[in-house]
Amino acid sequence: MIWNVELRRELVHGRSRFAIDASFASDAERLVLHGPSGAGKTQTLKMIAGIARPDRGRVVVAGRTLYDSAARVCVSPQERRLGYVFQDYALFPHLTVRQNIAFGLRSGWRNPAPSIVAPAVDRWIAAFQLAPVAEHRPHQLSGGQRQRTALARALVNEPTALLLDEPFAALDNALAARLRGELKELQESLRIPLLLITHDDDDLRVLAHEVVHLHGGRVAASARVEEPA
């Protein structure tokens, strides 16, 4: 199993309560977690990445146990080696595209210099055609460039899997369609397991090997999708 997830968490916000009880296991290289907004998708993804804490459960990704409340295992987000692309990309506004992409390469207390040269950084700048904007700050980028920068930043660390939170929601339809195709090709060439959450049916159609439907914090259905010929 590439993905083996069993997560429970009760969220209390003022007087309202929301319970997440999401369990799914899948061998799909491209797994899509689908559901309306407010279904608990982002919280589930954050718990898999370790930046939100579940009450209990288990997370196994590509054979590595990242969290197991029964066995008292909780790998820190720093050690999980999962690439995370945030919904609004969460690019560092004070750093250039090049510095953003190089961010994870070194773990010291200082950010990479604007002139940093590293093979992995240059590889992704070239692959995503970011060379003309490499010295720009995130606020100067187009939506597609931001998305590619966020993807490059996550890939530079050679993660064992990629987690993407609504990666095309901030883009117009034509651009989203193109980047969806690019992401599919990228996944096929790297063979990196990919978990994507979305409420968009186009994402399912193009990207999903398997779909897990999440509704009100619970798994409503799970289905294997036939690869289009």
């Binding site: 990445a49 999980r80 995370y84 945030f86 969460a90 773990s107 207390w109 606020h139 996550a154």
Partner: protein, 224 residues
């Protein structure tokens, strides 16, 4: 006139020390107040802001009670570290620090609260541990606000009068800062000295405020 330069040098020394201490203390407390969630947080915030609204003489009295040589803390400092805070320039530093602390702490708290927590989460998923997250993401995005608070704190320390007079007194060349020297000069009828001191003080304060004003607009946008 030579007395004025001595008073200016002493004032700058006291304000610089008070600001430096507030940099560490105010940033630490501001960060804790921006991040931690505990009952009574806003009450603690109000207590920490109190020096900004209380009469400086009242603060000075509190300080005398707290760090005077007859107090447990003051006695301990004198006995174990050999530090006497009453009627010394170090005492003036403590007075200036307490009075201007809210300016740094408030600015730091507001600056840290504008930093999107998601950016810190992004740094964590990229392998950064907490000190690296703070120095590479949180601090660079908050430093402008903090620096503006520090400059205001420096300006406030330069003009400190009431608490300083209560704690450090007015010993020319040792604890007599610019604002106290102005008071003494006027009281003694030395108008020339007073005019000169007032002009020097005004120029220094305007310079500090101008640099603080330059830092506030055009802040780095923390959210995209």
């Amino acid at each position: 006139m030579e007395g004025a330069w001595i008073a200016l040098a002493l004032t700058l020394k006291v304000a610089a020390w008070a600001t430096a201490l507030n940099l560490v203390l105010g940033v630490a407390v501001g960060l804790a107040m921006a991040r931690a969630r505990f009952p009574g947080r806003e009450l603690l915030d109000a207590v920490l802001t109190l020096p900004m609204v209380m009469p400086p003489t009242v603060l000075g009295y509190y300080l005398l009670v707290l760090i005077g040589t007859h107090s447990p803390l003051g006695a301990w400092l004198l006995e174990h570290l050999g530090i006497r805070l009453i009627f010394t320039w170090q005492g003036a530093v403590v007075a200036a620090m307490v009075v201007s602390f809210p300016l740094v702490f408030k600015a730091a708290r507001a600056a840290f609260e504008t930093v999107d927590p998601q950016l810190e989460d992004a740094a964590r998923t990229l392998g950064m541990h907490e000190p690296a997250v703070f120095f590479r993401v949180t601090l660079p995005l908050a430093w402008r606000g903090i620096l503006a608070g520090l400059l205001l704190s420096f300006a406030r320390s330069l003009g400190e009068f009431g608490a300083t007079l209560m704690v450090a007194g007015s010993i020319p060349g040792r604890t007599q800062t610019l604002s106290i020297a102005v008071y003494e000069a006027v009281q003694a009828g030395h108008d020339d000295a007073a005019n000169f001191l007032v002009a020097v003080t005004s120029i220094v304060c305007i310079a500090v405020l101008l640099s603080a004003g330059r830092l506030l607009p055009g802040r780095v946008v923390a959210r995209e």
